[in-house]
Structures are given as structure tokens and as C-alpha cells.
Symmetry: C2
Subunit: 448 residues, 2 copies
């Protein structure tokens, strides 16, 4: 048996798949926080190019991938679909476990799938400079890469705690030619106001988003780019699942369970949604989204309109949220520390199509180390959540011959400090207390 | 045109290629440093398994790759052969540039090609524990991975300067379950003696090899593993070139120049040697091995019998060498800081088949950054040397339509501190003074 299934360049999907028209009962429109009415495309056009706005609003199922984007994808895509035979043996399970290896991209994660597309559409419309935020640094390095390759300037607001803890991420962005600052920064009004009150502020993704948005609004020829949550990001990430579906067909397999980790939701959604039409036609598939106990957006949050950032500059999105001023604890899976969940994922949870589960971080690192010792690749802390989810499914009944597929969203080679802390016994589990969640949920914006 | 050429798992080579029987005028045998006579296999069997010794001495051209090794290779192999179209455009050259992307392996380099094979043969012969040295950490992490996957214990002696500067490499090895110490260490007689004289000693690969050899000789069920230089390592790495040759055939291309960086020589040799039979049959191919000006083994060293380590515990190898007590300066391409060169590469240089060239580190980092901004992947500092070599070939005459192929031996994501130093202007060029080389060459062992 082949260890993995690969596709040639000419077998790469030529269109992304947009799940929006297939979501039962559809999506609620984003609202303008000033008027509480559906936000106008003109307003969004201040920070996004039309090419991406059309995708954000599109009712088309298939949207062609531009040739230039496909050529850059071709450096690492199609990515391999690998059978985790050694992990199966170690678990003693009759389940088959497949993983889609997105860690082979130049920056080691799935993030370039959207970064390259976003940089491309911005460039096509004459934009010269992009601003963005980054938490763990995966998105910031991916957008820096894409901007560098397409000749755009790039400014990254990086959550201070990561800026200090992850020097290599910073170095990657600088190597690609981007400008990186710790957020909150003295470069924006939002940042200066926060620093005045709290000079040692650790930052949060919601703050960095506010800074990047202000940057785009106050600089010439500058647009804003977001690495998850929005519909067009999920659209770009659908290439993961479209490839995986082809590869599973070649393997002669069909998944019983599809698993991914959920921060903003784009890697899991991009992996899972190409199977949603099959599900709607009656195929038995379970979609399991795994989030951390310490930031339990889907499992302990509320489905409501909320802002994407702390300063409430974004449109209000209808999504599972813990409240836009929710402050997640500093667990090492920085990419999963966001208060909201992609509206597409949220709607699929609402429709009982996606099952959300939450897991503790210690069992995730344990799963990650077992994976490293069996399949060789050291997973990113975020990815450890998906692996933990897969192990739970594979070991519930060791004799049940089912087929599990999970998205290996990225490697952990730039996050080894997290493993050091785990191996030294410095990490502990943390479940967010109900009253803290209730307190931030009490600050949700009022929508009539 | 496809951006890259890939092979399916069932197109992976089933045998390694051993170039030794094809080298004109052959290899000189390794000598026992005590008797100055060819070393007996029995003596080597104290630290190496028979499976590897047979390969070391073999006169067979093709040696089958065991099924178990192929299955582990299958996690990441065959690796892609990518056309560097964006780099070509940036250079304005009519040359076609292809690179073999070995950075997609779990540890980010070509090293697991030999690590997995070495761990396999040791395990097959009942060995329970491996000892090894590592300089930059690429080999140490690869052997730790292979040992972890095959259930062997592993002890790594890591050159102190890297141990202190590259904490993530250490973390990777620990995650795979290996034991890592800074070398010189208090764990061996060799280490203790050096520490007594010089407690702050930075270490060197030659010292770490001595420690690992002593460890293997003094522990039960323990063998030694070396990550480059030896014939069996070059043999295992030949899978790179065997795949590349198939891929170039699919692309309908034939290389005019084959380029790689040279530390101990195994990545370049593994990439290049499958084309040696074509060369001997009259095909016009140039083989260019790129080494640093600061450790110019082939371009300023001598072809002679020398020891592989400082304590002169290894057999004497007939190779280009700067002398076994040569102390290379601390340039950032730690993997290229070794005094000797693989006997296979040395013999091919002697026969004027391989052309050695040396380059300065600043132009290498410049090349690496251009590569990152065009092809997206940040190269390891070692790999930057190969890229620099390719750029020199591609720009000598911009209008000459030639085909260049180089080995992208590894990514730099765990070596970003080197880029930080380069971008901050802290690095400088360094050519090793002739008198220092003369001094260490004066200490070569006397062979009659």
C-alpha cells in the first residue's frame, strides 16, 4: 500500500468551492456597527479590494482560481494526503487515519492558501501596501511571504506576547521584507490609547485587528487583510478539502469523520466544507471541530452578532463568540486564541452539521508527541488539537473499522518553546470559568 | 507549464545507487590509525552494524532499499522537483533553474534519508541505542526522529556553540525522545579532558565525534551513527539524485550543471552521483560543489589520509582535509564547518569530475533572501551556498539557455537567528588565512 496519495500539478483544483449557497437557512448578513443595518459594499471597499468583496458576498458555488495564484500554489500544492499507519499501530485501532499535510508550505502551515490569493487581488487592483494582524505569527509570516513575492509592502501588527516569545516568526517576516511591530504599538491611535492606560499590555488579536484596520484606513494605497473568519478566507482554504476529496477517491476511501482544529475556523472549514454537499445528499459524515477548553468559542460561547475586534471597528458578524473583549489565557496554541468563530463554521454548528468539541492542552501536547514519534512530523500546538480529536475518535472503540481524516494544519518547528514548556512540566490545563465568559458576553452589542 | 514535477509513491526508487564501482581509479581504503594498514571490518563492527558495513565496502552498483525504510520515506518522499521560474525572472536569465526540495521532510532537511536507514539497520541487528554528534543540529534532529520512530534510544553530543545558540534544535531532539548534551560534555573521558583544560570550550564537530565514538565503545548495545562523509551515507542520499533524474526525464530536460553545498559532502554527492555514469559515457555535465571561503576544504585543503575526529579515534580516511585539528570560524552555516570531505566527493574532485568552488557568506545570505522573496521558501544558511552557486551559473551569461539543477537541502526556519544577524549587518566575510590552514595541515598523520 502507498503511504500517501499525491496529485500532480495538473490535478490541482482550478476553482475554489464556496459553501455559502449550500448552507441550510443561509448566513446572516454582516451589520454596520453605526447603523445596525447590513453593511454596504462601498464601506467595505475602503479596506478590501473588489475581487475579495465579490467573493465575500458571492452566491456562486465555484469560483475560478487565477492562473497566477495557481502558479504560486504550485511551489507546494497539491499537498500530500498521508495514511498515519504508524499512529494507527501505536493506538492499536482498526480505524484508518488519514491526514492532509499542509505543513509542507514554505511557512509551514495552511495560511498561504489565502495569503497568496489576498495579495494577488489587492495587487490586481493597484494596492501597494497591506496591513494585517497576527497572533501566533503563522498568518503574519504567510502574508509577508505573499506580499514579498508579489512586490507589495506589508505591515504586521503582532500580538506583543508572541512578538516577545517567538523571535523566529518576526525574523521570517523581516526576511520576506515586511515591517513588524509589537501590538499594542505607538503607530496607531488605538495602540497609543491602550499603551497609555497599560504600558505593559500583552496585547490580543482583537487589539491587533483594530490597529491594522486603523493603519489601512489612514494610509494611502493600503488595504487590510484578515487571516481567518471571513467567507473569502474560508473560500481560499477550500482547496485543502477539494484536493483531499480527490485523493480519498484515488485511495478508494470515504471519510466517516472529518476533523480539524478551530481558532478563527478557516483551516477546518476549508478542509471540511467540500464534503458538505455529500452530507446534504444523505451521506453519513461527521464533522468535528476541535477548540481549546481555555477559549471555548463554540462549546461555551453564544451565537450572536459581535464585533471582530476590541475597538469595534469591524462590521458585526453573526457568529459564535465569547464577546469581543474576552481575554483568553496565554495557552501556547496562540492560533486558537480568538473570541469569535467564522460565520460559515458558526452556521454549520447551528445547523448541527459541525460538532464542536473542546479539549485540554496537556492531552493535545501528549497527542502531538505521540504523532512526532510515530509519523515523524512535530505538529504545531494548534494542530495537536486536531490530532487529539482524531485519537479520541480512533480509540473510542478500537475494533470499529472507520475512516478518519484530519487536517494537519502546520508543523511546530517554530513553536518548539511550547514543547519545552510541556516537557518541563510547566504547562497546566485551564478551563475558562463560566462567570468570566458570562461577563464578556454581557458586553455584546445590542442588535434589534 | 507545471511549476513542479512530482513522483507517486510507487515511482520512488527501490534501490540506492552506489557510485564507488564507477569512480575512475577507485577509492583508497580507510586505514587503522594504530597499524596504518587497511582497517578490518571486525574493528568497525564494534560501532557499526554489518548491514551498514557491507554498504560501506560494497562494490555493487544498486543496493535495494528495505521495504520498512521505504515506508517511512513515504511520509515525505518522493520530494518535489520545482522550476524556480520566479527566480529566473528576477535574475533576467534565459537559464532554466530547477531545485530538488528536500526541505519538505519532517525535520526540514535531507538528513533523514540516511538517519532512517541507519536506525533501521541498527535495529535489525538488535542494537538498542545510538550515539551521534551534531553541529548545526540538522543531523541530530534527523537521527532523533528516526530513533524515536524505530524505538531506539538516542544520545546526541551537540557542539556547544550550537547547543547554546539553537535551542529549538535541542527541543526537537527531546520531543523525539532523545538525550542531548552540549559537547564537550562531562559524560566522556574525551569531553572531561577538554573541559579540564578549557571549561568554556565552544566545541567542534571533531570533538563531538570523538565523544560519540567513546560513548558507543563504552555502552552496552550502543552503536555510533555518522551523518555525512562515509560511503554508506552518500549511498542513502543517492535517492535524491535518483528521483531528480526521473523527474527531469518527465520534464523533458537534461541538466548542464548540477550544484550543491558541501559540508561533509553527502547532500551534494547524493544529488549528483546518479548522473556520474552519464558523464563517464560522454554526456556533457558539470558538477559544482560549493563550500564556504571560511572552511575551504576542497579549494584550499589537501588530498591526504586524515582522521575524522579530533581525538583520532576514527579510521584514517583518504579525503580533502584542512587537518583534523582545524578550527573553523563560527560562520552561521554550521553544517558546512567540517575539516574533511567525503572520500567519494574527494575522489571525484581528484578525477576532475566535481568542480569545487568557494563563496563568501554575505553573498550567500543575499542569494537566500532573493530566493525567499521569489520562490517563497527561506533556505537554510547551508542551502544558501547552493543557491549562490546556481545564481553565479545563471548570470554568467544571461542569454545562454542552459539548464541548472541544484539541491535545496533544507529550509532555514530553525536558523532564523542567522538571518537576523545578516539583516542587522552583524555578519562579515571571512577567508581563512593560508598560514592557519598550513598550520593544521602540518599535523596530518604520517602514512607511509
Amino acid at each position: 500500500m502507498n503511504k500517501k496519495i499525491i496529485l500532480r500539478d495538473d490535478e490541482m483544483p482550478t476553482s475554489w468551492y464556496n459553501v455559502v449557497p449550500d448552507i441550510p437557512n443561509g448566513l446572516q448578513p454582516p451589520l454596520d456597527p453605526e447603523t445596525m443595518q447590513p453593511v454596504s459594499p462601498e464601506k467595505l471597499a475602503a479596506v478590501f479590494p473588489m475581487g475579495l468583496l465579490e467573493q465575500e458576498m458571492s452566491a456562486e458555488r465555484l469560483i475560478p482560481i487565477p492562473e497566477e495564484v495557481r502558479e504560486i500554489y504550485g511551489i507546494w500544492r497539491p499537498t500530500p494526503l498521508v495514511r498515519a499507519t504508524n499512529l494507527e499501530k501505536a493506538l492499536g485501532t482498526k480505524a484508518k487515519i488519514f491526514f492532509k499535510n499542509e505543513s509542507v508550505s514554505p511557512v509551514g502551515s495552511h495560511k498561504p492558501n489565502s495569503a497568496v490569493a489576498q495579495a494577488y487581488y489587492n495587487k490586481r487592483e493597484g494596492v501597494k501596501r497591506l496591513s494585517t494582524e497576527t497572533g501566533a505569527g503563522q498568518w503574519g509570516s504567510a502574508l509577508s511571504m505573499a506580499a514579498g513575492m508579489l512586490g507589495l509592502e506589508c505591515k504586521v501588527y503582532m500580538v506583543r506576547v508572541s512578538f516577545d516569545q517567538k523571535p523566529y516568526r518576526k525574523s521570517m517576516m523581516k526576511t520576506y521584507g515586511a515591517d513588524v511591530v509589537a501590538s499594542p504599538s505607538p503607530d496607531t491611535n488605538v495602540g497609543r490609547a491602550i499603551l497609555e492606560k497599560d504600558p505593559g499590555c500583552n496585547g490580543a488579536l482583537g487589539i491587533a485587528i483594530s490597529e491594522a484596520l486603523e493603519d489601512a484606513a489612514t494610509h494611502d494605497n493600503t488595504n487590510y487583510a484578515l487571516g481567518s473568519v471571513l467567507n473569502h478566507v474560508v473560500l481560499h482554504q477550500s482547496i485543502i478539502g477539494l484536493e483531499a476529496k480527490k485523493q480519498m477517491e484515488i485511495a478508494g476511501e470515504y471519510p466517516d469523520v472529518i476533523i480539524g482544529c478551530c481558532g478563527g475556523g478557516s483551516n477546518f472549514a476549508g478542509f471540511a466544507v467540500p464534503y458538505v454537499p455529500d452530507y446534504l445528499e444523505g451521506k453519513k459524515i461527521r464533522f468535528v471541530g476541535v477548540e481549546p477548553e481555555s477559549c471555548p468559542t463554540m462549546t461555551a460561547g453564544r451565537l450572536a452578532y459581535d464585533s471582530g475586534d476590541v475597538a469595534m471597528m469591524t462590521p458585526l458578524l453573526y457568529m459564535y463568540t465569547l464577546g469581543h473583549d474576552f481575554m483568553p489565557p496565554g495557552i501556547h496554541a496562540g492560533g486558537l486564541r480568538y473570541h469569535g468563530m467564522a460565520p460559515i463554521v458558526s452556521a454549520l454548528v447551528r445547523e448541527n452539521i459541525i460538532e464542536p468539541v473542546s479539549v485540554h492542552q496537556l492531552e493535545c501536547f501528549e497527542a502531538g508527541i505521540l504523532f512526532a514519534k510515530t509519523e515523524g512530523i512535530i505538529p504545531a500546538p494548534e494542530t495537536c488539537h486536531a490530532i487529539r480529536g482524531a485519537i479520541v475518535e480512533a480509540t473510542r472503540d478500537l475494533n470499529e473499522p472507520k475512516t478518519i481524516m484530519f487536517n494537519f494544519s502546520g508543523h511546530g518547528l517554530i513553536d518548539m518553546a511550547a514543547y519545552d514548556n510541556y516537557l518541563a512540566g510547566n504547562l497546566h490545563n485551564y478551563a475558562m470559568p463560566e462567570e468570566e465568559i458570562a461577563a464578556s458576553l454581557a458586553n455584546l452589542p445590542t442588535v434589534k
